[in-house]
């Protein structure tokens, strides 16, 4: 008995940080996802000349909570002909994979659950790709034609775009020379340039492929609502449906985080080694102060007293965050002797801010595309993947590799390396476009649907 107790204590002592982080993720992530959805709806409304959710809380700030409650208390329907076990299992699989992928990520140098796994990026990409099982099984288990087509589309799409995304990641990894997430960011710090700038074509490829991988518009064919009702989610309702939803948005966060880590300098602020640009450190707190001030300004316009109080509370939170963000920057200036002691907090807090900021921008781009572009057709999607993105990414890896050798030979590094990689990227793009053009010439688009079978 004592042995067991002892073992448990040791286990807890050794792993309490990741355990707590994991619990926080599982508990907080649904909330975060809820607010990502709210922000998406607000952005959508802004682009579409309307207001979006305005009823629950001031400016609809409590809408996600209302939605969550609604989804949780909804009737849980399992179709009679469904494969019950698989139907039950599928959404759980999807969510589990997405949450597990989060574990491998590092939100700033401090907050990381699975600390410094040496295969970092590979783990994240691999585990998040497992989510496809949830989609395929869910579509199959529903025993509905729409679900089945949605699931098939989804698997075909993921398999094809995973290749392109993987090749794009390889480009970034070539520069980093490691799979470990902390080391990748450190490499960008050492070289003084984001890998997204060194390999713009790889970044572009990853951007497109990650949109396709997360089934977002204009590649949201698996759940194309105007064609397949809701694709693989058609038969799911209530809680199960919200699990899929959670998985989808979590996956968005995962791909955005991977892109941020590998291509956008992770938690580094822009130009981390240029000292005269240190004032950039003040931008995050100023931004939060700005948001808080805006909330205060809007307060008198709220109709009810409760809403006014709520608005002030939001403003107060913004100010509090601003103080937290400002502290590690201000303390070393006021008391230089404390600079070293404050350093970890600086890394953790401001690093976290920059990471979340970049991830938000990336997700904003996703949303922007969604409200602007029509949807691809399935064969067009596959053609884009196999005839353009995959050749492009493979050629790009080759040419970037050559560029790196050239760079080493000439002793170029950092920004100088651009001299080698930019021509390489341009050549890759030209060759890929050439391949696409010849493909199209050799196989003219037939009007009445003689396009090749899309399920590659």
């Amino acid at each position: 008995m004592q042995v067991v107790m002892q073992a448990t204590m040791d286990f807890v002592k050794q792993y309490w940080v990741p355990l707590v982080c994991g619990l926080v993720i599982v508990a907080v992530l649904p909330l975060i996802v809820g607010y990502v959805v709210l922000v998406e709806r607000k952005i959508m409304a802004d682009m579409q000349a309307r207001l979006g959710p305005m009823r629950v809380g001031p400016h609809g700030l409590l809408q996600p909570i209302a939605d969550a409650v609604k989804l949780l208390i909804k009737e849980d329907i399992i179709p009679e002909d469904a494969d019950k076990l698989v139907f039950w299992l599928a959404p759980v699989l999807s969510v589990a994979a997405a949450l597990l992928a989060i574990a491998g990520l590092a939100i700033g140098p401090v907050f990381q659950i699975a600390k410094d796994i040496n295969i970092g990026i590979l783990f994240v990409v691999g585990v998040s790709a497992m989510g496809i099982f949830g989609i395929v099984l869910g579509g199959w288990a529903s025993n509905s034609h729409y679900s089945l087509i949605g699931a098939l589309r989804s698997s075909a799409q993921l398999v094809s775009y995973e290749t392109a995304a993987g090749m794009a990641l390889v480009c970034g990894l070539l520069f980093a020379g490691t799979l470990n997430i902390t080391s990748i960011v450190q490499a960008q710090y050492d070289q003084g340039i984001w890998f997204g700038l060194l390999a713009p074509v790889a970044f572009f490829t990853y951007l497109v492929a990650s949109i396709a991988e997360t089934n977002r518009a204009p590649f949201d064919l698996p759940e194309a609502e105007s064609e397949l009702v809701a694709g693989y989610m058609t038969e799911f309702s209530g809680f199960r449906w919200s699990l899929y939803f959670l998985a989808e948005y979590t996956n968005m966060i995962v791909v955005a985080s991977v892109a941020t880590t590998l291509f956008l300098g992770g938690w580094l602020r822009p130009f981390p080694r240029t000292h005269w640009l240190n004032f950039i450190d003040f931008l995050p707190p100023l931004l939060m102060v700005g948001v808080g001030a805006y909330c205060v300004m809007r307060t008198p316009k709220q109709p009810a007293r409760v809403q006014q109080m709520f608005m002030l509370a939001v403003a107060g939170m913004c100010f509090a965050v601003a103080v937290v963000l400002a502290a590690p920057v201000l303390v070393p200036i006021v008391k230089p002797s404390l600079a070293l002691a404050v350093k970890p907090y600086y890394d953790g807090i401001l690093g976290g801010f920059w990471f979340i900021f970049k991830v938000s921008l990336y997700i904003y781009f996703f949303m922007w595309l969604r409200f602007t572009l029509p949807r691809y057709r399935f064969d067009q999607l596959m053609r884009l993947g196999w005839h353009f993105l995959i050749p492009l990414s493979i050629i790009n890896v080759l040419l970037i590799g050559i560029a790196m050798i050239v760079g080493q030979y000439l002793n170029w590094s950092g920004w100088m390396l651009l001299l080698a990689t930019i021509p390489a990227s341009i050549i890759a793009l030209i060759v890929a476009l050439f391949i696409l053009a010849t493909e199209q010439k050799s196989e003219p688009q037939k009007a009445s649907g003689a396009a090749p079978d899309s399920y590659a």
């Binding site: 000349a49 034609h145 518009a217 609502e225 105007s226 029509p374 396009a451 899309s454």
Partner: protein, 386 residues
């Protein structure tokens, strides 16, 4: 006994055209609708698929059948007028115009010039509104979410004008047999002019979003081609026919209301694909705007209602009158037996006839194209089913 629903479905399906062969393991039959996000109401399309390719299709209609034609036989001529608004409920003004003119023809009266011009203005506004609704939903079907809201913003302006004129927004009952019931309100010209002024830029905005968009081109070009001879053989009218390259517009061919007074072009397409139909309708909106601008410049004064009695008793006889509704030729065939009620009213709805072209257009395309084709036909199920 527990009914095996699957067996029942199979039996029902086999009886209705798209055959199911139990031994055929390469094809799949799916039902699109009547409850489906993009069948524009309660259309039910049965699709036979090979993978995702459509190898056969069948439209099943009647879910919104209300017996409008039969109702006409038990109502007086005036009483029936509001019913026609409920057929193509997104272009109620046009429906009313067709019916009123048909009965006027039967009565051998003519609406006064002022009434005819105001009718023209409202009908053209309604055409723009109808096309805006089509554009929004069509784009939504193809996956572009945003144009819908812009289109509804402009449509709202038109509905406001209609509301100011007759008090109703959707099922307007704007006209009366013999002319108009309401005099135009004071600022009608100004409202229409303001709308037309802003609308030019708006159409440009929509075109910026879609016309040169690569994905939009990919989704609409070469999709749902309807050749001119097929279109004529199937009786297609309106933009569907014109996009196939046939220059046929009843506003020009057999002018009614005040259309003979105005200059406007009839846009036609070349290939008859979805993209051409899109371009034709966009241009039609511009032309309607021009007609409105010409019409408000000179609205003649005078009475708004011809001398028709309180009780309408047309002489025995029959008449067919058709107008160019936003969706195509809308015809009314009215037979009078000399009493206060029509003996028979037969309506030729453009959506119903255009829908016949669906199978021709959809065969060989993918499921994703089916929704584009339903959208491009611009059907309203209220009108298809009547």
């Amino acid at each position: 006994m527990v009914l095996d629903t699957r067996q029942l479905n199979t039996a029902a399906t086999a009886a209705q055209g798209v055959q199911i062969d139990p031994l055929d393991d390469t094809s799949m039959v799916i039902n699109m609708g009547p409850q489906h996000p993009s069948t524009h109401g309660v259309l039910r399309v049965k699709l036979k698929l090979d993978g995702e390719r459509v190898i056969g299709s069948e439209c099943m209609i009647g879910y919104l059948h209300r017996g409008v034609e039969k109702i006409a036989e038990h109502r007086s001529y005036q009483q029936f007028a509001p019913y026609v608004d409920r057929m193509d409920y997104v272009a109620a003004v046009s429906n009313g115009l067709g019916y009123c003119e048909a009965v006027e023809k039967l009565l051998m009266v003519e609406a006064p010039p002022r009434a005819r011009v105001i009718r023209t203005i409202l009908t053209e506004l309604q055409r723009i509104a109808s096309h805006l609704l089509w554009l929004g939903t069509h784009a939504l079907d193809i996956g572009a979410l945003t144009p819908l809201f812009y289109c509804f913003r402009e449509r709202e302006e038109i509905l406001k004008i209609l509301e100011k004129y007759c008090g109703a927004r959707l099922t307007t009952h704007a006209f009366r047999i013999g002319g108009l019931q309401y005099e135009a309100y004071d600022t009608l010209e100004k409202d229409v002019e303001r709308f037309c002024k802003s609308f030019e830029q708006r159409v440009k905005d929509y075109e910026d979003l879609l016309t040169q968009n690569r994905i939009w081109l990919g989704r609409t070009k070469g999709v749902g081609i309807l050749k001119a001879e097929d279109a004529i053989a199937l009786g297609a009218t309106g933009p569907v026919l014109r996009a196939s390259g046939v220059k046929w517009d009843i506003r020009k061919a057999m002018p009614y209301a005040a259309y003979d007074q105005y200059k406007f072009e009839i846009p036609i397409g070349t290939t008859g694909d979805t993209y051409d139909r899109y371009l034709v309708r966009m241009e039609e909106m511009r032309q309607s705007r021009l007609i409105c601008l010409q019409a408000i410049e000179n609205i003649p004064s005078g009475p708004i209602l011809a001398k028709v009695g309180k009780v309408l008793k047309p002489p025995p006889g029959e008449v067919y009158h058709s107008i160019e509704a936003p969706k195509g030729e809308l015809g009314y065939y009215v037979i009078s037996d000399g009493t206060v009620q029509p003996y028979r009213v037969r309506i030729r709805p453009p959506s119903f006839v255009n829908l016949q072209a669906f199978d021709k257009m959809a065969r060989g395309h993918l499921v994703a194209d089916v929704v584009a084709i339903i959208g491009t036909l611009d059907i309203v199920l209220g009108e298809v089913d009547r």
